[in-house]
């Protein structure tokens, strides 16, 4: 029998992964933004994401809304537990979201909005990383509600995951720019990508090595047979992808640094999935504890089954329309000044 709860866990996981990969590169460009030269470089960097950022961010709403719909108990425990980082993320996203439009509207205050774009991207990313770490390290639950304190999310581990995600998104952003731009901006992006590759490998190693010490569950998952089947080759795979990524910077085709970075993200997320499964709040609430009733799952699955392929099709089409390098002329057809 097909277990709809498992299918829904997979759909939510895919939505979160889609969000991380898609909004990751435009948040990353925001993180790198102050490093680009004022003027055409910044404009081109912005134009490389202007037509797609809104769609990318919709996956975040899908993750939040989907969690509420499919796992309402998890939604109602996790969100209060991560109150501070989530509110910080939302406010940061407000700042960087409006900056996309505002920097073109008001050249006199463009520096302020460029800063808002950078700071918003950085804070949002850092907060997302903290959220991940806080979830992994565990959340206190009592009687269907969060029962911990207001600073439980803050720990050395959650700060580590926060920093790691900033590095990861920055590398995704650099990879996207290598792919989508040319000339000095592309050269700059290559220059930024170089140190980020070893930094990300170190970050992945640090998070991977600390995770098993957070909960016995993780330790057993990874270091007791059959977990060793994955645990042993995983570092080798990461090392291989990181090497290929390093090699691809600076040589054609320009798409490869971005794609290899996606590979690193995919491996990391697979590792996370192995650690967490089948819990939605590690050690406390399993996906079956948190699942919405069968009728809710069925009703949504009909829609998701039909609509997600359609969404992927027109999203791919929108990316296809804006394929190729970002020219000097810019897509932004409405800067009237």
């Amino acid at each position: 029998m097909m277990d709809l709860t498992v299918i829904w866990a997979a759909i939510i996981a895919i939505a979160v992964a889609a969000y991380v990969l898609m909004d990751g590169f435009d948040l990353g460009i925001g993180i790198l933004f102050p490093k680009f030269r004022v003027g055409r470089e910044r404009d081109a960097a912005m134009n490389a994401i202007a037509p797609v950022w809104d769609g990318n961010e919709t996956w975040l709403v899908m993750g939040g809304g989907g969690l509420l719909a499919a796992f309402p108990l998890a939604y109602s425990i996790v969100l209060p537990a991560l109150y501070a980082p989530l509110i910080a993320m939302l406010l940061a996203l407000v700042f960087r979201g409006v900056a996309f439009e505002f920097r073109w509207r008001d050249p006199n205050h463009r520096r302020f909005w460029d800063f808002a774009f950078f700071a918003g991207s950085l804070v949002a990313t850092f907060a997302q990383g903290i959220t991940l770490g806080a979830l992994l390290q565990g959340i206190e639950v009592h009687d269907r509600a969060y029962s911990g304190g207001w600073w439980d999310w803050l720990s050395g581990f959650s700060l580590l995951t926060g920093v790691s995600l900033v590095i990861g998104y920055a590398l995704l952003g650099a990879g996207w720019l290598i792919w989508k731009t040319e000339g000095p901006l592309q050269a700059d992006a290559r220059r930024f990508a170089r140190p980020l590759v070893p930094a990300l490998v170190v970050a992945i190693a640090a998070v991977s090595l600390s995770t098993p010490f957070l909960e016995m569950q993780y330790w057993q998952r990874w270091f007791v047979w059959p977990g060793l089947i994955v645990a042993v080759p995983m570092p080798l795979l990461i090392a291989f992808v990181a090497f290929m990524l390093w090699r691809s910077i600076g040589r054609a085709p320009d798409s490869h640094p971005f794609l290899w970075t996606l590979g690193l993200f995919a491996l990391s997320m697979a590792g996370l999935a192995i650690s967490i499964w089948p819990w939605v709040i590690p050690g406390r609430v399993s996906i079956w504890d948190a699942a919405a009733p069968h009728s809710s799952q069925v009703f949504m699955l009909i829609g998701a089954g039909v609509l997600i392929p359609v969404i992927l099709a027109y999203t791919a089409w929108a990316y296809w329309v804006f394929r190729g390098k970002v020219g000097d002329d810019g897509y932004h057809a409405h800067g009237d000044h």
Partner: protein, 466 residues
């Protein structure tokens, strides 16, 4: 005040603040997206350039408004969990799927085609671009459909049952939940409100430029289209609002009692209180100006029909009367002013003075932002009118809140206020700046179309250099 009570009040203030701010932008972008689709359609059909000029002109404003709507909307999808976790847990199985459908059918549609609509004019053919514009407009409407279904279910819940952990779960079919009793009325009333709000904003901008002596075809077309909307749609809206009110009387009579200021029951014909000062302590409306028996006539279509008052409702189950009494009157008052504007514009049209009648233009200018006020007032009426319930009759607001400490909620409320006022005030100023320039024929001229963003030319780059 008890700790929990302070946190509750702060959480309510935060939700009221974020949702009211958010609501302004969709109210504008639902109408504006459709307006843009109509403009582009007219341009494709007639080939007249001033339609394209207007399309480009309003698209710039749409882009700014839409960005603010998106970011304030993302906040909403997380506020349910951060501040109202008990509500999320209990109502999630019913409202969650509806919101998931909103994301799947509306948000992705809007976001997916918005990029092509804003930036793809030269990348895709005219037909495809028009399709993208229509997709965005359709997305805004579908979004309204789902979220108003959710809100209506909270007002008039049907089709649910309780499971053994106290969650509301679907009882039978989803149609009973989606098409709950107040939903059709709320959907019609709210979507028309969005169209009217946009029409009045467009009309106000047109009037501004007419007053400044610009009578080009772009300005005249924009003003004329807006005034047709006011003349035709304002009466429809008043009619739809009346039906919505009757529906509320049937399903949420207490809300209507508060709207009407009826503290006492009226066994033989209730008066319509036009104005007055409601006093919930004394349970009376001071200095009331009232028309005898008119309320019974409107609500029951019978002068002598009895109407129950708040004296039939336990005090703990009453909404705060003062806010609702006034927000309702503000909404209705503006509705009739809109009707006046529509009729006046018809008179101007008949006498051939539509583009010359300065007092008409001044009135239209003043009415420009009125739709936003009416929309917020209406929202306050229906939401505060549901109190003390978050799900009418089933779950109290005070039982729905997250286990929050007031410093956390208070600090985040302050942060929301600061960020929203900074970003959205500035955004509104940018919109006003854009609207302050007259739409000219240059708007659509090819050499101006992909306007080089500042900083592209070396001179500007130098100017901007650090």
């Amino acid at each position: 005040m008890a700790e929990g009570e302070t946190a509750l009040i702060l959480a309510r203030a935060q939700f009221a603040f974020t949702v009211s701010f958010h609501f302004i932008f969709p109210a504008f972008s639902i109408g504006l997206a459709s307006y843009l689709a109509v403009l582009e359609g007219l341009w494709l059909k007639t080939g007249k350039d001033h339609y394209l000029d207007l399309f480009r002109y309003w698209m710039k404003i749409f882009a700014v408004a839409f960005a603010m709507g998106v970011v304030s909307g993302i906040v909403m999808s997380y506020q349910f969990g951060t501040n109202w976790s008990v509500f999320s847990d209990k109502a999630g199985p019913v409202i969650g799927p509806l919101m998931a459908y909103e994301v799947l059918t509306a948000f992705f549609l809007e976001a997916g085609f918005l990029g092509v609509m804003l930036f793809g004019m030269k990348k895709v053919g005219r037909g495809l671009h028009f399709t993208a514009t229509c997709a965005v407009a359709l997305g805004t409407f579908i979004s309204a459909f789902w979220i108003l279904s959710v809100n209506s279910w909270m007002q008039t819940p049907t089709g649910h049952t309780l499971n053994d952990v106290g969650q509301f779960v679907p009882a039978a079919g989803w149609a009973d939940i989606i098409f709950n009793p107040s939903f059709p009325y709320r959907l019609v009333h709210t979507v028309i409100a969005a169209y009217l709000t946009t029409a009045l904003a467009v009309g106000g901008v047109g009037a501004w430029h007419l007053l400044r002596g610009d009578r080009g075809p772009q300005v005249r077309t924009m003003f004329s289209m807006a005034m047709w909307m006011a003349a035709l749609v304002a009466p429809i809206q008043i009619f739809a609002g009346d039906l919505h009110g009757l529906n509320t009387l049937e399903h949420q009579p207490v809300k209507v009692m508060a709207m009407e200021g009826h503290y006492q029951s009226h066994p033989d014909g209730a008066p319509l209180i036009l104005f007055g000062i409601p006093d919930s302590k004394a349970e009376t409306v001071h200095a009331a100006i009232e028309i005898p028996k008119l309320s019974s006539l409107i609500l029951k279509h019978d002068l002598d029909a009895p109407l129950a008052g708040l004296d039939t409702v336990a005090k703990a189950d009453r909404p705060p009367v003062g806010i609702i009494f006034w927000s309702f009157r503000i909404m209705v008052g503006i509705g009739f002013l809109m009707l006046t504007l529509g009729l006046w514009s018809l008179l101007g049209r008949v006498t051939g003075r539509l583009y010359e009648w300065r007092w008409l233009h001044r009135f239209a200018l003043v009415m420009g932002p009125s739709g936003f006020v009416a929309v917020i007032a209406g929202w306050v009426t229906t939401e505060v009118g549901r109190q003390p319930w978050v799900i009418q009759g089933l779950l109290r607001t005070s039982d729905a809140v997250s286990p929050l400490a007031s410093p956390a909620v208070g600090a985040s409320l302050v942060a929301f206020v600061i960020v929203y006022f900074t970003c959205f005030t500035v955004g509104t100023l940018y919109i006003l700046k854009l609207a302050g320039k007259a739409p000219g024929p240059r708007e659509g001229a090819p050499e101006r179309a992909p306007i080089r963003s500042a900083g592209i030319t070396p001179a500007q780059a130098v100017q901007e250099g650090e």
